[in-house]
Symmetry: C2
Subunit: 340 residues, 2 copies
C-alpha cells in the first residue's frame, strides 16, 4: 500500500488570519513552517508565540501545533494543517545560550544563524566580508544539535554557511532560497554550498519569492521546474523541497521591517529598490496556498516521476524533520569547560 | 498487588546543587515541586528555568523534569527524582494573560495568585484589606483552569482564597501552610478556608518552615503529627500532603529577597523580626530531605494506618496532579468578548 503523499511548505511569513487558515486547508497543506521572528527580542518572540497559542485555541478545526514528524502525520489524519515555528534571525536568543533550549521547548524548530547582517553567531549574505562562524556561533551550533533546533542558513553568507555545515553534527537546511546558477543574487546559493549541504544530508527549500526567481514576477512555471530538475541532477532529488516564502496579506511596512528592523536609520531596500520598495507581485501560477498543485503538475511535465513529485512536495521535508526535530541521543554532559 | 508508595514534597525553595540532588535521592523523594520565582519578571523566571535545564543536562542520573503524574511514575521507576516548577507570585505573567500558557508549556504547574502583598490578581496575607479576586484575577483563573496551571493560595489573604476556590472550575491547592487552629498567624489557614478547599477537591500541603509551626524551631514531632490528625478529621485524609517549604543552603540574603523583592525601601521582616531576621533553624526531627521518614513514623504513632501514611506522604499529591496538570477538555473557544 502506498503511503499517503504529504504537502509541506518549508517557510512562510504570511499575515495569518482565519481566512488564511481556511486557504491552507483549501490548498491541502499538511504542515507549514511559519516564521515568528525577524528582529524580535526574546520577549517579543514570546508575544508572537502567544498569538499562535490563541489561534490554536480559536481555530482547532483548521490548524494545530506540531513539534515532531509524527505530529504532522497526526495533523494529516485529523484533516488539519500542522504549524511549527522558525526564527529568521538569532535575536531571540540574545547573548544567552540557554534560550536555545527554552525556544525549542516552546515549539521552535528552525533558527537562522544570521539574517542579511552580521549576527553574534554568523555573517549575513549582505555583508562585504564573511569571517565565518563566531566563537558563540560554534557553541550555539553544538547546543542546537543537542536539543533538536535545526540550523537554517537561508540568509547567511557563503563561508558562514559552509562553516555551519562543517561544524554541525546534524544536517542543516536552507529553507527558502534558489540556486544562483539559475538566478544569481546574494540570497541564492552557489553550487559549492548546495553540494556541501546535500553531502551532509541537508535540505534546500525552493523559494517562490519573486526576488529569488529568474525574471522575478514574470518567471514562468516551466523555467522554475527546469531549475528544480537541474538542482536534482546536481545534488539529488532527496535533498529538495519547497519553502515558498509566501508573505500573504502583508502590508509593505512589513517588508521594510524585515529589511531594516531597528538596526539602521537609513532605509535599506534589500533585494528591492527605492522605486520598487514593496512586496513584489507573485507569479500568476503561484499566487497563494491554493497553487501548490500547479508546481506538482509542472514538475511532472519536466519529467519527474509521481514518486519524486511527492518527495519534492513534502515527503523529503517530512523525512528530514523525522531526523532533525528530536533531541540528540543523550551523551554525558560536560560538567567543566576549559577556557583558553 | 499493592501499588508502590510515593514520596512527594509539595514545595521547596532550596539552593539547589549536586549535593542537594544527592540528598533528595538519599531521602527517597520521587518528586519535588520547586519554586522558581518570588518576585522575578518573566525574563528572570526564564533564566531560572534555564538553570534547571542545565541541571537536568548535568545530573540525568539524579533528577529529571516531570510535567504529568505519569512522568512522576516514570521517574520513580527510573530511580530519579522528578522536578516540576511553581511560581510563588504572579509577577512572571506581567500584565499579559498569554504568558499563562507559555509558562505551562515551559513546565510550570503551580502559580500563587499573590505573595504577601496585593498583586494584579489577588490580595496577599499581609495586606490590611482584601477586596478579593481582581478583574484580571478572574480572567487568569479561567485561563489557568484551561491550560492546567494549578492555583496555589499559600500566601494569599482569606477572601481572595475563598474567591479563588469559588471561581476556579478545577481544584486548587495550598501547597505550604498549616491550620491556624494549631498555630495562629497570617500565613496559616482558617477552618473556613480549609473546609472550602477540601469541599472543592483541593489539597493542603503541611509546611515544616518553623514560622508556620507551633513553638517554631522547638516544635515537637508529636505536636506536628497530632495537628495532621486533627486536620484529617476536619477535612478528610484525602486532602492533605506535605509541602515542606525547605529552604536548604540558602543564605539569609534570600529570605530578605523573598520578603522585600524590589517593592519596598524599608526592610520588611515578614514572619521574622529585626532581631531574628534570617532563616530560622529547622526542628531537629526535620532538618533536610533525609528526614521525611521521621514524619511517616510520627504519623503512624498518632494512629494513621499504613495506607493513610502513604497517602499523606505522596499518594494524595500524585492523585491530585493526575487531575490538575492536564489541559481541560477542549471546549469551543470564545472568539468574541463583551466588554462592559
Amino acid at each position: 500500500m502506498a503511503s499517503p503523499a504529504f504537502l509541506i511548505d518549508g517557510l512562510q511569513y504570511s499575515n495569518w488570519s482565519e481566512a488564511l487558515f481556511r486557504q491552507v486547508r483549501e490548498g491541502g497543506l499538511d504542515a507549514v513552517h511559519v516564521t515568528i521572528c525577524y528582529h524580535e527580542t526574546f520577549r517579543e518572540t514570546v508575544a508572537n508565540l502567544e498569538r499562535w497559542n490563541r489561534w490554536f485555541e480559536l481555530y482547532p478545526e483548521l490548524i494545530r501545533p506540531v513539534r515532531t514528524a509524527a505530529d504532522i502525520e497526526a495533523a494529516k489524519r485529523e484533516g488539519r494543517t500542522g504549524i511549527f515555528f522558525g526564527l529568521q534571525n538569532c535575536s531571540p536568543i540574545e547573548d544567552d545560550i540557554g534560550l536555545v533550549e527554552i525556544l525549542h521547548q516552546l515549539g521552535v524548530r528552525f533558527m537562522q544563524l544570521s539574517y542579511n547582517n552580521q549576527s553574534l553567531l554568523a555573517t549575513g549574505c549582505y555583508e562585504a566580508d564573511d569571517p565565518g562562524l563566531t566563537r558563540m556561533g560554534r557553541q550555539v551550533v553544538k547546543e542546537m544539535n543537542r536539543v533538536g533546533l535545526t540550523i537554517d542558513m537561508s540568509h547567511s553568507a557563503e563561508r558562514s554557511t559552509l562553516d555551519a555545515i562543517e561544524h554541525s553534527e546534524r544536517p542543516i537546511a536552507i529553507t527558502h532560497a534558489n540556486p544562483s546558477f539559475w538566478h544569481p543574487g546574494l540570497r541564492n546559493k552557489s553550487d559549492t554550498v548546495l553540494k556541501a549541504l546535500a553531502a551532509s544530508g541537508g535540505m534546500l527549500g525552493f523559494s517562490l519569492y519573486p526576488h529569488h526567481l529568474k525574471d522575478k514576477s514574470a518567471c514562468s512555471l516551466a523555467s522554475f521546474c527546469e531549475m528544480v530538475a537541474k538542482t536534482a541532477d546536481l545534488i539529488g532529488v532527496e535533498h529538495i523541497g519547497i519553502g515558498s516564502d509566501l508573505c500573504l496579506d502583508q502590508p509593505d511596512t512589513v517588508v521594510e521591517w524585515m529589511r531594516n528592523g531597528r538596526w539602521t536609520k537609513e532605509l535599506d531596500y534589500g533585494e528591492g529598490s527605492a522605486s520598487a520598495a514593496g512586496f513584489p507581485p507573485q507569479p500568476d501560477w503561484f499566487r497563494d496556498n491554493r497553487d501548490f498543485g500547479h508546481i506538482a503538475k509542472g514538475l511532472a511535465q519536466v519529467g519527474f516521476s509521481p514518486r519524486d513529485v511527492e518527495r519534492i512536495m513534502g515527503g523529503n521535508w517530512l523525512a528530514f524533520y523525522r531526523r532533525a526535530f528530536e533531541p540528540a541521543a543523550a551523551a554525558p554532559a560536560a560538567r567543566t569547560s576549559h577556557a583558553g
